[in-house]
Amino acid sequence: MSKFKKKKKGLPPINTASLPDIVFMLLFFFMVATTMRETSPLVGQDLPTAVEIKKLSEKRLVSTIYVGPAADKKTYGDGDKIQLNDKIATVKEVRAFIYAEREKVPQDEQSAMTTLIKSDMKSTVGTINDIEAELREINALKVTYATRQGTEK
């Protein structure tokens, strides 16, 4: 029965030569469309929602202050905590933080700088007022309260 030769089974291998190209394309897309994550929040961040919001597109000109309950309650205890850069700080340190942020920006753009207060929904207004009092002292008057985008009801 050698007439019926056994046919070779199995599919031909798929050519994967263009796979790197596809992956590189994705890679470049992400490199262009995203920004580096600078800090990871150490405090709870359940942001409130709002409708009338403005986007802050110039990340260079934004200094972020995180406020919320500490994720690590054993070390830091209860209550609202303020996070500057990568550590929990006190209200007194806000000034030095803003000065340091100003140093990173050219002189002529410093007036356009904004302080973004990312505060948890459950944080108290008192804590925020303390921060704002500090900001007023050093004339950093532009403030944005971070929110998530809500929908009009």
Binding site: V23, A50, E52, V67, V143, T144, R148
Partner: protein, 213 residues
């Protein structure tokens, strides 16, 4: 001499390298754009500053939020979603003459005039003019940020509603559209800037914030 052929480089692992880089970027970067409610803090007053001018009570829209997040608007309990309409009625009342106004293309008025663009009830016991209408938010130290932001948002909605209505009448497009145009334009024209300024002057956002001691 025989030409030696360069052996082909195996590119099979190229994809792996690219994937590795891709995953690295996926992990270390963020895509979300920060957004929020922007406010300008009042400037620090020098010690010898003159006392602030006394604002007539009818020109103040008082919102008090207590420590258990109840909202008191003009001495009545209200829900958050009622604030917008109350604020609109207050700002847009136009009961009397306002402060002199000035915007690009218009000289500063010598005397304040009536609010000709207001559509409010003209109640003599409510605000005189949008540029005299002050919204005062008083909070307790332990008021939650969530409630405070919600109230601020409602006020923002009230101003946007009024500004949109005015811009629609004046320029045939909403204020929101104008802001979007400004954002998207590479070179913002002076006319658009002036128009936005005009709307802002006609319905200025005057919100004061204080802490109940």
């Amino acid at each position: 001499m025989a030409r030696r052929e360069t052996p082909e480089i195996n590119a099979g692992s190229m994809a792996d390298i690219a994937f590795l880089l891709l995953i690295f970027f996926l992990v270390t970067t963020t895509m979300d754009v920060d957004a929020g409610i922007s406010r300008r803090l009042p400037e620090k007053q020098p010690i010898d500053a003159p006392p602030p001018p006394i604002v007539k009570e009818r020109n103040v829209f008082e919102i008090i939020i207590n420590r258990s997040n109840d909202i008191l608007v003009e001495n009545e309990y209200r829900k958050v979603n009622e604030i917008k309409d109350l604020a609109i009625a207050f700002i847009d009342n136009g009961g009397s003459i306002g402060n002199p106004i000035e915007y690009p293309g218009k000289q500063k008025e010598v005397e304040g005039k009536d609010c000709s663009w207001c559509e409010g009830a003209k109640n003599p016991e409510s605000s005189d003019h949008p540029n005299k209408a002050v919204i005062s938010i008083k909070t307790d130290r332990s008021t939650e940020m969530g409630t405070f932001i919600a109230v601020q948002d409602e006020l923002g909605k009230a101003y946007t509603f009024l500004r949109n209505r005015l811009a629609m009448k004046e320029f045939g497009k909403t204020y929101t559209q104008m802001l979007k145009e400004e954002d998207n334009a590479v070179n913002v024209s002076d006319k658009l800037k002036g128009d936005i300024k005009k709307i802002k002057v006609m319905y200025p956002e005057i919100i004061s914030k204080s802490e109940n001691k």
